[in-house]
Protein backbone atom coordinates (compact mmCIF):
# COMPACT_ATOMS: atom_id res chain seq x y z
CA UNK A 1 0.00 0.00 0.00
CA UNK A 2 3.09 2.22 0.09
CA UNK A 3 3.19 3.84 -3.35
CA UNK A 4 6.84 3.97 -4.52
CA UNK A 5 8.77 6.68 -6.37
CA UNK A 6 8.48 7.05 -10.12
CA UNK A 7 4.92 5.78 -10.39
CA UNK A 8 2.77 8.85 -9.86
CA UNK A 9 2.77 12.11 -11.86
CA UNK A 10 4.50 15.08 -10.20
CA UNK A 11 1.22 17.00 -9.83
CA UNK A 12 -0.23 14.15 -7.74
CA UNK A 13 2.94 13.96 -5.63
CA UNK A 14 2.86 17.71 -4.97
CA UNK A 15 -0.88 17.52 -4.24
CA UNK A 16 -0.07 14.76 -1.75
CA UNK A 17 2.46 17.02 -0.02
CA UNK A 18 -0.18 19.78 0.16
CA UNK A 19 -2.83 17.51 1.74
CA UNK A 20 -0.26 15.95 4.10
CA UNK A 21 0.89 19.46 5.07
CA UNK A 22 -2.70 20.46 5.83
CA UNK A 23 -3.33 17.32 7.89
CA UNK A 24 -0.02 17.78 9.77
CA UNK A 25 -0.90 21.44 10.44
CA UNK A 26 -4.34 20.41 11.76
CA UNK A 27 -2.80 17.74 14.02
CA UNK A 28 -0.02 20.01 15.34
CA UNK A 29 -2.58 22.75 16.03
CA UNK A 30 -4.68 20.31 18.07
CA UNK A 31 -1.53 19.09 19.89
CA UNK A 32 -0.39 22.65 20.69
CA UNK A 33 -3.77 23.30 22.35
CA UNK A 34 -3.17 20.49 24.82
CA UNK A 35 -2.18 21.48 28.36
CA UNK A 36 1.47 20.44 27.95
CA UNK A 37 2.10 19.63 24.30
CA UNK A 38 5.76 18.69 24.88
CA UNK A 39 4.76 16.02 27.41
CA UNK A 40 3.19 13.87 24.70
CA UNK A 41 6.22 14.09 22.39
CA UNK A 42 8.44 11.34 23.93
CA UNK A 43 5.38 9.10 24.27
CA UNK A 44 4.39 9.65 20.65
CA UNK A 45 7.97 9.18 19.41
CA UNK A 46 8.60 5.93 21.24
CA UNK A 47 5.21 4.63 20.20
CA UNK A 48 5.98 5.62 16.58
CA UNK A 49 9.11 3.48 16.80
CA UNK A 50 7.11 0.72 18.52
CA UNK A 51 4.48 0.79 15.77
CA UNK A 52 7.17 0.60 13.10
CA UNK A 53 8.64 -2.42 14.85
CA UNK A 54 5.21 -4.00 15.50
CA UNK A 55 4.40 -3.73 11.79
CA UNK A 56 7.37 -6.07 11.12
CA UNK A 57 5.65 -8.93 12.97
CA UNK A 58 4.75 -11.66 10.47
CA UNK A 59 1.15 -12.80 10.75
CA UNK A 60 1.02 -16.32 9.32
CA UNK A 61 -1.70 -16.92 6.74
CA UNK A 62 -0.74 -20.35 5.40
CA UNK A 63 1.01 -20.82 3.03
CA UNK A 64 2.38 -17.26 3.29
CA UNK A 65 2.54 -14.50 5.92
CA UNK A 66 1.59 -10.81 5.92
CA UNK A 67 2.70 -7.64 7.67
CA UNK A 68 -0.01 -5.43 9.11
CA UNK A 69 -0.10 -1.66 8.60
CA UNK A 70 -1.69 -0.84 11.99
CA UNK A 71 -2.82 2.67 10.97
CA UNK A 72 -6.19 2.18 12.72
CA UNK A 73 -4.42 1.07 15.91
CA UNK A 74 -2.10 4.08 15.63
CA UNK A 75 -5.14 6.38 15.55
CA UNK A 76 -6.68 4.55 18.54
CA UNK A 77 -3.52 4.88 20.68
CA UNK A 78 -1.93 8.14 19.56
CA UNK A 79 -4.95 10.33 18.75
CA UNK A 80 -3.82 13.61 17.17
CA UNK A 81 -0.20 12.44 17.25
CA UNK A 82 -1.16 9.66 14.82
CA UNK A 83 -0.69 11.76 11.68
CA UNK A 84 2.80 13.11 12.56
CA UNK A 85 3.71 9.58 13.71
CA UNK A 86 2.66 8.10 10.36
CA UNK A 87 4.46 10.86 8.46
CA UNK A 88 7.66 10.11 10.38
CA UNK A 89 7.19 6.34 10.13
CA UNK A 90 6.79 6.59 6.35
CA UNK A 91 9.81 8.89 6.13
CA UNK A 92 11.92 6.26 7.92
CA UNK A 93 10.53 3.46 5.78
CA UNK A 94 11.36 5.45 2.63
CA UNK A 95 14.93 6.35 3.54
CA UNK A 96 15.95 3.26 5.53
CA UNK A 97 14.13 0.43 3.81
CA UNK A 98 13.27 2.06 0.42
CA UNK A 99 9.65 1.12 1.15
CA UNK A 100 7.43 3.89 -0.25
CA UNK A 101 9.29 6.92 -1.56
CA UNK A 102 10.40 10.51 -1.04
CA UNK A 103 8.26 11.98 -3.84
CA UNK A 104 5.25 9.94 -2.75
CA UNK A 105 5.71 10.62 0.98
CA UNK A 106 2.86 13.17 1.00
CA UNK A 107 0.47 10.92 -0.91
CA UNK A 108 1.28 7.91 1.28
CA UNK A 109 0.97 9.96 4.48
CA UNK A 110 -2.44 11.26 3.38
CA UNK A 111 -3.67 7.85 2.25
CA UNK A 112 -2.59 6.13 5.48
CA UNK A 113 -2.70 9.01 7.99
CA UNK A 114 -6.12 10.53 7.34
CA UNK A 115 -7.88 7.14 7.88
CA UNK A 116 -5.86 6.87 11.14
CA UNK A 117 -7.34 10.18 12.31
CA UNK A 118 -10.82 9.00 11.31
CA UNK A 119 -10.19 5.74 13.22
CA UNK A 120 -9.32 7.86 16.27
CA UNK A 121 -12.64 9.74 16.01
CA UNK A 122 -14.52 6.47 15.49
CA UNK A 123 -12.88 4.82 18.50
CA UNK A 124 -13.74 7.86 20.67
CA UNK A 125 -17.43 7.00 20.23
CA UNK A 126 -16.70 4.16 22.66
CA UNK A 127 -16.48 6.80 25.42
CA UNK A 128 -20.14 7.71 24.90
CA UNK A 129 -21.38 4.11 24.96
CA UNK A 130 -19.18 2.84 27.81
CA UNK A 131 -15.41 2.89 27.88
CA UNK A 132 -15.10 0.13 30.53
CA UNK A 133 -16.99 -2.40 28.42
CA UNK A 134 -14.51 -4.83 26.82
CA UNK A 135 -16.95 -6.00 24.15
CA UNK A 136 -17.42 -2.41 22.99
CA UNK A 137 -13.65 -1.84 23.08
CA UNK A 138 -13.19 -4.91 20.90
CA UNK A 139 -15.99 -3.87 18.54
CA UNK A 140 -14.73 -0.31 18.09
CA UNK A 141 -11.17 -1.63 17.85
CA UNK A 142 -12.28 -3.90 15.00
CA UNK A 143 -14.09 -1.04 13.22
CA UNK A 144 -11.12 1.32 13.68
CA UNK A 145 -8.53 -1.24 12.54
CA UNK A 146 -10.52 -2.70 9.65
CA UNK A 147 -11.94 0.68 8.60
CA UNK A 148 -8.51 2.34 8.73
CA UNK A 149 -6.94 -0.11 6.31
CA UNK A 150 -10.09 -0.32 4.14
CA UNK A 151 -10.09 3.45 3.54
CA UNK A 152 -6.34 3.47 2.95
CA UNK A 153 -6.56 0.56 0.49
CA UNK A 154 -9.38 2.08 -1.55
CA UNK A 155 -7.62 5.49 -1.66
CA UNK A 156 -4.25 3.96 -2.61
CA UNK A 157 -5.67 1.74 -5.36
CA UNK A 158 -7.82 4.57 -6.71
CA UNK A 159 -4.80 6.90 -6.94
CA UNK A 160 -2.57 4.18 -8.40
CA UNK A 161 -4.95 2.94 -11.05
CA UNK A 162 -6.24 6.34 -12.17
CA UNK A 163 -2.94 8.24 -12.29
CA UNK A 164 -0.29 5.64 -13.15
CA UNK A 165 1.11 6.41 -16.63
CA UNK A 166 -0.31 3.30 -18.25
CA UNK A 167 -2.57 2.89 -21.23
CA UNK A 168 -5.58 1.39 -19.46
CA UNK A 169 -9.17 1.93 -20.52
CA UNK A 170 -11.82 3.11 -18.03
CA UNK A 171 -13.39 -0.34 -17.66
CA UNK A 172 -10.01 -1.95 -16.98
CA UNK A 173 -9.26 0.77 -14.39
CA UNK A 174 -12.56 0.17 -12.58
CA UNK A 175 -12.09 -3.60 -12.70
CA UNK A 176 -8.54 -3.22 -11.30
CA UNK A 177 -9.76 -1.06 -8.38
CA UNK A 178 -12.54 -3.53 -7.53
CA UNK A 179 -10.22 -6.53 -7.87
CA UNK A 180 -7.44 -5.03 -5.74
CA UNK A 181 -9.93 -3.89 -3.06
CA UNK A 182 -11.69 -7.27 -2.95
CA UNK A 183 -8.32 -9.04 -2.72
CA UNK A 184 -7.58 -7.00 0.41
CA UNK A 185 -10.81 -7.84 2.26
CA UNK A 186 -9.16 -10.75 4.17
CA UNK A 187 -6.33 -8.39 5.20
CA UNK A 188 -8.91 -5.79 6.35
CA UNK A 189 -10.67 -8.41 8.51
CA UNK A 190 -7.33 -9.62 9.87
CA UNK A 191 -6.23 -6.07 10.68
CA UNK A 192 -9.61 -5.40 12.35
CA UNK A 193 -9.37 -8.55 14.50
CA UNK A 194 -5.74 -7.80 15.39
CA UNK A 195 -6.58 -4.20 16.39
CA UNK A 196 -9.56 -5.41 18.45
CA UNK A 197 -7.41 -7.94 20.34
CA UNK A 198 -4.64 -5.38 20.97
CA UNK A 199 -7.24 -2.80 22.16
CA UNK A 200 -8.75 -5.30 24.63
CA UNK A 201 -5.22 -6.27 25.77
CA UNK A 202 -4.34 -2.61 26.36
CA UNK A 203 -7.59 -1.97 28.22
CA UNK A 204 -6.69 -4.82 30.57
CA UNK A 205 -2.99 -3.98 30.99
CA UNK A 206 -2.56 -0.22 30.39
CA UNK A 207 -5.93 1.51 29.88
CA UNK A 208 -4.37 5.01 29.74
CA UNK A 209 -2.84 4.05 26.38
CA UNK A 210 -6.34 4.05 24.88
CA UNK A 211 -7.08 7.63 25.90
CA UNK A 212 -5.51 8.97 22.69
Amino acid sequence: MHIPDGVLPTAVCLGGYATAGAAAWFSLRKISRQENPREGMPKASLLTAAFLVASWIHIPIPPASVHLMLNGLLGVVLGYYAFPAILIGLFFQAIMFQHGGLTTLGVNATVIGVPALLAFYLFRLRNILGRENRVLTGLFGFLAGGGGIALAAVAAFFILVTTIPAHLDVEAEQASIYALTLAHIPVMILEGVFTAVVAVFLQRVKPELLEG
Partner: protein, 257 residues
Amino acid sequence: MKLQLDRYAYLETPLHSWDPRYKLVGFMTLIFAFSFVDNLQLLPFMVAVSGVLYAVSQLPLSFLLARMRLPGFFLLMMGVLLPFISGSTVLFHLGPLSVKQEGCLDLLLIAVKFVSILTMGIILFGTSPFLTNVKAMCALGLPSILADMILFTYRYLYDISDNLKTMQTAMRLRGFQGHNIKGLVTLASLAGTILVRSYEQSDRVYKAMTLRGYGQADVNRGGQHEEEFEAYSRDLWGLIILLLVAAAFVVGQILIR
Protein backbone atom coordinates in the same frame (compact mmCIF):
# COMPACT_ATOMS: atom_id res chain seq x y z
CA MET B 1 18.96 -5.11 13.40
CA LYS B 2 21.34 -2.50 12.06
CA LEU B 3 20.48 -0.76 8.81
CA GLN B 4 22.72 2.24 9.27
CA LEU B 5 21.81 4.75 6.70
CA ASP B 6 24.82 6.99 7.29
CA ARG B 7 27.40 4.21 7.46
CA TYR B 8 29.55 5.94 4.82
CA ALA B 9 28.98 9.52 5.96
CA TYR B 10 32.64 9.73 7.04
CA LEU B 11 33.96 9.63 3.44
CA GLU B 12 35.55 12.77 2.02
CA THR B 13 33.99 13.75 -1.29
CA PRO B 14 32.48 17.01 -2.57
CA LEU B 15 29.02 15.55 -1.84
CA HIS B 16 29.96 14.67 1.74
CA SER B 17 31.36 18.12 2.47
CA TRP B 18 28.49 19.97 0.79
CA ASP B 19 26.34 22.09 3.16
CA PRO B 20 23.41 19.73 3.95
CA ARG B 21 20.83 22.53 3.59
CA TYR B 22 21.88 23.20 0.00
CA LYS B 23 22.21 19.48 -0.64
CA LEU B 24 18.66 18.84 0.59
CA VAL B 25 17.17 21.59 -1.57
CA GLY B 26 19.22 20.61 -4.64
CA PHE B 27 18.56 16.87 -4.43
CA MET B 28 14.85 17.21 -3.63
CA THR B 29 14.42 19.56 -6.60
CA LEU B 30 16.22 17.10 -8.86
CA ILE B 31 14.16 14.20 -7.50
CA PHE B 32 10.93 16.03 -8.31
CA ALA B 33 12.29 16.97 -11.75
CA PHE B 34 12.93 13.24 -12.36
CA SER B 35 9.37 12.42 -11.33
CA PHE B 36 8.11 15.07 -13.80
CA VAL B 37 9.71 13.25 -16.75
CA ASP B 38 7.52 10.90 -18.76
CA ASN B 39 9.41 11.02 -22.05
CA LEU B 40 11.51 8.00 -22.88
CA GLN B 41 14.17 10.08 -24.67
CA LEU B 42 15.15 11.71 -21.36
CA LEU B 43 15.65 8.42 -19.53
CA PRO B 44 19.33 7.88 -20.61
CA PHE B 45 20.17 11.36 -19.26
CA MET B 46 18.41 10.53 -16.00
CA VAL B 47 20.45 7.33 -15.63
CA ALA B 48 23.64 9.26 -16.50
CA VAL B 49 23.01 12.02 -13.92
CA SER B 50 22.20 9.59 -11.10
CA GLY B 51 25.15 7.37 -12.12
CA VAL B 52 27.62 10.28 -12.13
CA LEU B 53 26.37 11.57 -8.76
CA TYR B 54 26.61 8.08 -7.26
CA ALA B 55 30.17 7.73 -8.58
CA VAL B 56 31.10 11.13 -7.11
CA SER B 57 29.65 10.09 -3.74
CA GLN B 58 32.04 7.06 -3.69
CA LEU B 59 29.37 5.01 -1.91
CA PRO B 60 29.98 1.30 -2.61
CA LEU B 61 27.82 -0.30 -5.29
CA SER B 62 26.95 -3.11 -2.86
CA PHE B 63 25.37 -0.47 -0.56
CA LEU B 64 23.02 0.57 -3.38
CA LEU B 65 22.25 -2.99 -4.51
CA ALA B 66 21.44 -4.13 -0.96
CA ARG B 67 18.88 -1.35 -0.69
CA MET B 68 17.31 -2.22 -4.04
CA ARG B 69 16.34 -5.71 -2.90
CA LEU B 70 13.08 -4.89 -1.11
CA PRO B 71 11.69 -2.39 -3.65
CA GLY B 72 12.76 -4.81 -6.39
CA PHE B 73 9.68 -6.89 -5.54
CA PHE B 74 7.48 -3.98 -6.53
CA LEU B 75 9.23 -3.72 -9.90
CA LEU B 76 8.81 -7.44 -10.38
CA MET B 77 5.06 -7.11 -9.74
CA MET B 78 4.80 -4.26 -12.26
CA GLY B 79 6.86 -6.30 -14.72
CA VAL B 80 4.42 -9.18 -14.42
CA LEU B 81 1.32 -7.00 -14.84
CA LEU B 82 1.94 -3.94 -17.06
CA PRO B 83 3.12 -5.57 -20.32
CA PHE B 84 -0.06 -7.65 -20.38
CA ILE B 85 -2.73 -5.16 -19.31
CA SER B 86 -1.55 -1.80 -20.63
CA GLY B 87 -1.96 -0.75 -24.27
CA SER B 88 -3.31 -2.31 -27.45
CA THR B 89 -0.34 -2.89 -29.82
CA VAL B 90 0.51 -6.57 -29.51
CA LEU B 91 4.24 -7.35 -29.74
CA PHE B 92 4.05 -11.12 -29.36
CA HIS B 93 1.96 -13.80 -27.69
CA LEU B 94 2.94 -15.73 -24.59
CA GLY B 95 0.51 -18.63 -24.50
CA PRO B 96 -2.99 -17.18 -24.04
CA LEU B 97 -1.57 -13.76 -23.04
CA SER B 98 -0.38 -11.03 -25.38
CA VAL B 99 2.57 -8.77 -24.55
CA LYS B 100 1.82 -5.17 -25.52
CA GLN B 101 4.23 -2.50 -26.64
CA GLU B 102 2.74 0.33 -24.58
CA GLY B 103 2.87 -1.80 -21.44
CA CYS B 104 6.56 -2.58 -21.97
CA LEU B 105 7.36 1.12 -22.49
CA ASP B 106 5.33 2.10 -19.40
CA LEU B 107 7.29 -0.47 -17.42
CA LEU B 108 10.62 0.89 -18.72
CA LEU B 109 9.62 4.47 -17.79
CA ILE B 110 8.50 3.50 -14.28
CA ALA B 111 11.53 1.27 -13.64
CA VAL B 112 14.12 3.88 -14.72
CA LYS B 113 12.44 6.71 -12.77
CA PHE B 114 12.08 4.46 -9.74
CA VAL B 115 15.75 3.39 -9.70
CA SER B 116 17.04 6.90 -10.43
CA ILE B 117 14.98 8.53 -7.67
CA LEU B 118 15.93 5.79 -5.23
CA THR B 119 19.62 6.31 -6.05
CA MET B 120 19.29 10.05 -5.46
CA GLY B 121 17.63 9.44 -2.09
CA ILE B 122 20.40 7.04 -1.05
CA ILE B 123 23.08 9.59 -2.03
CA LEU B 124 21.23 12.38 -0.18
CA PHE B 125 20.89 10.49 3.11
CA GLY B 126 24.03 8.38 2.75
CA THR B 127 26.52 11.24 2.48
CA SER B 128 25.70 13.11 5.73
CA PRO B 129 25.12 11.90 9.28
CA PHE B 130 21.41 11.50 9.95
CA LEU B 131 21.49 14.01 12.82
CA THR B 132 23.03 16.63 10.50
CA ASN B 133 20.28 16.05 7.94
CA VAL B 134 17.58 16.54 10.59
CA LYS B 135 19.29 19.77 11.74
CA ALA B 136 19.36 20.92 8.12
CA MET B 137 15.63 20.19 7.78
CA CYS B 138 15.05 22.21 10.95
CA ALA B 139 17.06 25.10 9.54
CA LEU B 140 14.86 24.91 6.43
CA GLY B 141 11.69 25.25 8.52
CA LEU B 142 10.71 21.78 9.77
CA PRO B 143 8.56 22.28 12.94
CA SER B 144 10.64 21.53 16.05
CA ILE B 145 8.10 19.03 17.40
CA LEU B 146 8.44 16.96 14.20
CA ALA B 147 12.25 17.19 14.36
CA ASP B 148 12.22 16.03 18.01
CA MET B 149 9.93 13.15 17.09
CA ILE B 150 12.20 12.09 14.20
CA LEU B 151 15.28 12.08 16.44
CA PHE B 152 13.55 10.20 19.25
CA THR B 153 12.10 7.63 16.88
CA TYR B 154 15.53 7.10 15.31
CA ARG B 155 17.15 6.80 18.76
CA TYR B 156 14.72 4.14 20.03
CA LEU B 157 13.95 2.26 16.82
CA TYR B 158 16.87 -0.14 17.25
CA ASP B 159 16.25 -0.59 21.00
CA ILE B 160 12.63 -1.55 20.42
CA SER B 161 13.53 -3.76 17.48
CA ASP B 162 16.03 -5.61 19.74
CA ASN B 163 13.23 -5.94 22.34
CA LEU B 164 10.98 -7.53 19.72
CA LYS B 165 13.71 -9.97 18.71
CA THR B 166 14.26 -11.02 22.33
CA MET B 167 10.54 -11.56 22.89
CA GLN B 168 10.17 -13.53 19.65
CA THR B 169 13.09 -15.76 20.63
CA ALA B 170 11.51 -16.33 24.05
CA MET B 171 8.21 -17.25 22.36
CA ARG B 172 9.92 -19.73 20.04
CA LEU B 173 11.84 -21.30 22.93
CA ARG B 174 8.49 -21.86 24.65
CA GLY B 175 7.21 -23.69 21.58
CA PHE B 176 5.17 -20.92 19.89
CA GLN B 177 4.12 -21.92 16.38
CA GLY B 178 1.37 -19.41 15.61
CA HIS B 179 -0.50 -21.16 12.81
CA ASN B 180 -4.03 -20.72 14.22
CA ILE B 181 -6.36 -18.10 15.70
CA LYS B 182 -4.77 -18.57 19.15
CA GLY B 183 -1.47 -17.70 17.52
CA LEU B 184 -2.99 -14.44 16.28
CA VAL B 185 -4.08 -13.58 19.84
CA THR B 186 -0.54 -14.29 21.08
CA LEU B 187 0.96 -12.10 18.33
CA ALA B 188 -1.51 -9.31 19.22
CA SER B 189 -0.38 -9.61 22.85
CA LEU B 190 3.23 -9.39 21.62
CA ALA B 191 2.42 -6.15 19.76
CA GLY B 192 0.52 -4.86 22.82
CA THR B 193 3.47 -5.67 25.09
CA ILE B 194 5.84 -3.73 22.81
CA LEU B 195 3.48 -0.74 23.02
CA VAL B 196 3.17 -0.97 26.82
CA ARG B 197 6.96 -1.30 27.32
CA SER B 198 7.62 1.64 24.99
CA TYR B 199 4.99 3.74 26.76
CA GLU B 200 6.52 3.04 30.16
CA GLN B 201 10.00 3.78 28.82
CA SER B 202 8.75 7.05 27.32
CA ASP B 203 7.48 8.10 30.75
CA ARG B 204 10.93 7.53 32.27
CA VAL B 205 12.60 9.32 29.33
CA TYR B 206 10.28 12.32 29.68
CA LYS B 207 10.96 12.62 33.42
CA ALA B 208 14.73 12.41 32.81
CA MET B 209 14.46 15.05 30.08
CA THR B 210 12.40 17.37 32.29
CA LEU B 211 15.05 17.09 35.02
CA ARG B 212 17.61 18.22 32.44
CA GLY B 213 15.53 21.28 31.55
CA TYR B 214 13.52 20.03 28.56
CA GLY B 215 10.72 22.45 27.65
CA GLN B 216 11.92 25.15 30.09
CA ALA B 217 13.56 27.51 27.61
CA ASP B 218 11.75 27.11 24.32
CA VAL B 219 14.26 28.91 22.14
CA ASN B 220 13.97 29.44 18.42
CA ARG B 221 15.48 26.14 17.35
CA GLY B 222 15.33 26.89 13.64
CA GLY B 223 17.62 29.86 14.08
CA GLN B 224 19.83 27.85 16.41
CA HIS B 225 20.35 25.13 13.81
CA GLU B 226 20.94 27.67 11.10
CA GLU B 227 23.95 29.00 13.02
CA GLU B 228 25.48 25.51 13.08
CA PHE B 229 25.97 25.54 9.32
CA GLU B 230 28.40 27.65 7.40
CA ALA B 231 27.91 27.93 3.66
CA TYR B 232 30.70 28.81 1.22
CA SER B 233 30.46 29.89 -2.40
CA ARG B 234 31.18 26.33 -3.57
CA ASP B 235 28.02 25.17 -1.73
CA LEU B 236 26.00 27.75 -3.59
CA TRP B 237 27.58 26.75 -6.91
CA GLY B 238 26.74 23.13 -6.24
CA LEU B 239 23.13 24.09 -5.65
CA ILE B 240 23.02 26.23 -8.80
CA ILE B 241 24.41 23.34 -10.90
CA LEU B 242 21.85 20.89 -9.53
CA LEU B 243 19.00 23.37 -10.03
CA LEU B 244 20.13 23.92 -13.63
CA VAL B 245 20.19 20.16 -14.26
CA ALA B 246 16.69 19.88 -12.75
CA ALA B 247 15.50 22.80 -14.91
CA ALA B 248 17.01 21.11 -18.00
CA PHE B 249 14.92 17.99 -17.35
CA VAL B 250 11.74 20.02 -16.86
CA VAL B 251 12.37 22.14 -19.98
CA GLY B 252 13.35 19.04 -21.99
CA GLN B 253 10.14 17.32 -20.95
CA ILE B 254 7.99 20.34 -21.89
CA LEU B 255 9.74 20.87 -25.26
CA ILE B 256 9.68 17.20 -26.32
CA ARG B 257 6.02 16.86 -25.28
